[in-house]
């Protein structure tokens, strides 16, 4: 019996997005889609979150911020890149200040394309990430991983 899949809490970070995807992420919380049906809560605190939802691409301003939020989240955690900018940089990929998608900085587990990504596909992406989250939890509990965490964790 696992509770992780029944109670995924997300943190949403807007990395240089045009707000198109952000509005669609927030639309998931409205009575129309109501993701709280699945126990999904938008926490706003990386230390309480299980899923990191990023919109927009990486640039010099937010490189450290994205990394910092990711590192503050307790294991097991997954990253969902929402929108085409977050997955690859989209139309802005050639810009002088844009490095590309979120996977340039942190490991991304689920890519949700779209400009803007529709709420249905965002929910679908988050539900897909739940099985990855579960996989990471089982991996975390193996003796080898536990030994590794004790020896090489952030002190």
């Amino acid at each position: 019996m696992t509770y992780l899949k029944r109670s995924p809490w997300i943190i949403h970070y807007d990395a240089s997005s045009c707000n198109g995807c952000d509005i669609e992420v927030l639309a998931c919380l409205t009575p129309m889609y109501d993701v709280e049906r699945f126990g999904i809560v938008n926490t706003g605190n990386p230390k309480h979150a299980d899923i990191f939802v990023v919109t927009g691409s990486i640039n010099e301003q937010n490189r450290e911020v994205v990394k910092n939020i990711y590192e503050q989240m307790p294991d097991p955690k997954v990253v969902v890149a929402v929108g085409i900018c977050a997955t690859s940089g989209g139309v802005f990929r050639e810009c002088y200040n844009v490095s590309g998608g979120i996977d340039k900085i942190i490991p991304v587990d689920v890519y949700v394309p779209g400009c803007a990504a529709r709420p249905e596909s965002i929910i679908d992406g988050i539900v897909k990430s739940l099985s990855i989250l579960e996989e990471k939890r089982t991996k975390m509990n193996t003796p080898a991983a536990k030994k590794d965490a004790l020896g090489g964790g952030i002190q």
């Binding site: 509770y3 109670s7 605190n45 230390k47 307790p74 294991d75 975390m140 965490a149």
Partner: protein, 288 residues
Amino acid sequence: MMSPVYGLIYILLAPIAGGLVAGIDRKITARMQGRVGPPLLQPFYDVGKLFEKENLVVTRSQDLYALCYLVFMLVAGALFFAGGDLLLVIFAFTLSHIFLVLGAYASSSPYSFIGAERELIQIIAYEPMIILSAVGMYMVTASFFVSDIVVSSIPIVLYLPGVFIGFLMVLTIKLRKSPFDLSTSHHAHQEIVKGVTTEFTGPNLGKIEIAHWYEYVFLLGFIFLFFAFSIPIALLAIAVAYLLEILIDNTFSRVKWQFTLKSAWIIAGMLGLINLAVLYYLSGGLQP
């Protein structure tokens, strides 16, 4: 007459009852907002999940403080349901919250600091009214012991209407409901990150959540005392009071801490103290 059996029953069953209350709360809140809402058992899933997560702490003392919060909440509730001294119960209850504040201060995070300061302000705001409730019950039943108050056939609420309204007011603060959810709240809306619980992760947050369930049952038990003369009326009063809290929660936006402190003290002073003064005058002394 103290009865430890009831204390033991509280320790075993209160998390289940408290979790269900939290689940019903979330469901009704969702329906009030036109949403379907989470499953009824969602609070249990949440806490189950929190214990599956990694325990990430800034300092190890946070573990101790989170545990102390839970333990002293348990002590306060168990003493209350075992029929102990109301003043001792309130003392243990306040102490448990001090541990939560210390835990937030231990983590030298600015968000956690603001949350801790706001939690302290909330304690200052509700404490006088809770003590006045205990004093009022003493004036009516001539005993501070819950076991004596609960068997008294006097309809306490008719003697203490002002105190009861004041208690409902601080109940809003205690249940972390809008407009007084300053230090942290159960809703998805974000305040100063997550206030007093910002730096607690995984199992520690789970312990705080379970302590909160114990707190729910203890506070609803306190409402019971006002109506102890008739059990059906008492249960009805608890249900109505809780529904009223949910309605208030969904109707009002959050206020500033200055207003919280002022309104809590003014209502405690106006309704509580005047109620007690009138009672004192009519009874012609402390003994009823």
